[in-house]
Symmetry: C2
Subunit: 241 residues, 2 copies
């Protein structure tokens, strides 16, 4: 960057700047399916369509802090695993003005997901239909509880699709799956999370072997309660070393 160019950008009046926002993909599991939290738009543009919760980035606020604030203000959630996803900058993504948006992925365990739904913030659950469709992933559609499609506003369908792809990509080598589970969980629950994210069934013995060999699971000694059959052992996630 040359000095003259820098000065041009240094003077806030010299060049108009894009507005900067964050959008959150809030993901959880409902009935064993990957589900997002969306807000119905009441005004133009895209009135009646469904949007990701978002907000502008303050001048003295980091991107992560803006995402945490939106999580708090728009979903009533104090904390969750947040991860930056991608930055969307198409010129016409918002018809009102130029807005560049940094998308974040927020992974919610079941209680946080339910709390956000009940928070009175106007969020609704949308099950994601994510056909396997190879590594590239197919188009993602969001469905209401009754299976009706929820049409998405802005470029938010692209953001959702990318969120699912990212989740799939990180499943094998990161701890994303545990962020969707309660602190104590069974191997079956863990397998179901993997299957829901991948959109494909998994082999039980092989899955158990892989997970236990990884060294991330610590038996709690306790067992599932309230089952009508043999209760499974409960494990805890232990970050390795």
């Amino acid at each position: 960057m040359t000095e003259s160019e820098f000065l041009a950008g240094y003077d806030p009046a010299a060049f108009e700047r894009p507005a900067l926002a964050v959008d959150l993909v809030l993901l959880g599991l409902r009935a064993g399916r990957l589900t997002a939290l969306l807000a119905e738009r009441r005004q133009h543009p895209y009135a009646g369509r469904w949007a990701l919760p978002g907000g502008f980035v303050g001048i003295a606020e980091t991107l992560d802090a803006a995402a945490e604030r939106v999580l708090r203000e728009k979903a009533g959630i104090a904390r969750a695993r947040l991860e930056q996803l991608y930055t969307f900058g198409a010129l016409d993504r918002d018809p009102r003005m130029r807005i560049v948006s940094v998308a974040y992925l927020a992974l919610l365990p079941e209680p946080a997901f339910a709390a956000a739904l009940d928070s009175g913030k106007g969020l609704a659950a949308a099950t994601l239909a994510v056909p396997w469709a190879g590594e590239a992933g197919g188009p993602v559609s969001a469905l209401s509880e009754r299976g009706e499609p929820r049409a998405l506003a802005f470029d938010h369908a692209d953001i959702l699709a990318l969120a699912v792809l990212r989740l799939r990509g990180k499943l094998d080598y990161s701890d994303v799956a545990f962020a969707l589970l309660p602190e104590h969980f069974t191997l079956r629950q863990l397998q179901d999370v993997h299957a829901a994210i991948l959109g494909t069934p998994l082999n039980k013995p092989a899955f158990r072997r892989r997970m236990l060999d990884r060294g991330w699971l610590e038996p709690t000694g306790a067992r599932e309660a309230g089952t009508a059959f043999r209760p499974a052992e409960l494990y805890r996630f232990r970050p390795s070393r």
Copy 2:
């Protein structure tokens, strides 16, 4: 986003906005090592340290277009494989003002890399010392031709480190390696690219098997020239279907 919040952001005078920039990690191979192109800073801040080429994002310019423009203006390269990396938004990353920067990875085959070095744009090569250090990756240091460290400006060391990690992560399932090679290349060259990115030696027969089984390689029928020994077959990258 509520309407009042939107309006607050809608009026450009209502709230100050962060400046938005792009920074490019220009990567190529020199003498079989992963190498970046950096510009020495002449002014404060960080005078004398080395920085990634970058520039502000225009109000009517997409992020990708801004990255392409910087590639053209700051490196004299008409086109290269560009890929968005991550967006950096720490409050104090530039002491002059609040700048949020979208980092891009640009992969240059050898001729483009050499052209950028000779373009008179003031770019210098910095070999990246990237110890394997497990999946998480260690600290990345940039070295001049004589092996002296090039101290980096701003948060650009973080950006470089992330670029290398991203490259490693995508090596197995994407075509990034081919972006660093000429159109026709030998399997040995391809293996050397992989080894340079991973920072670890690779098993030859296994590597050949994997690459050929992948179905991305098409024999050209031609062979290497100018060797003092048996010339290797030349292949071409063919994106599968």
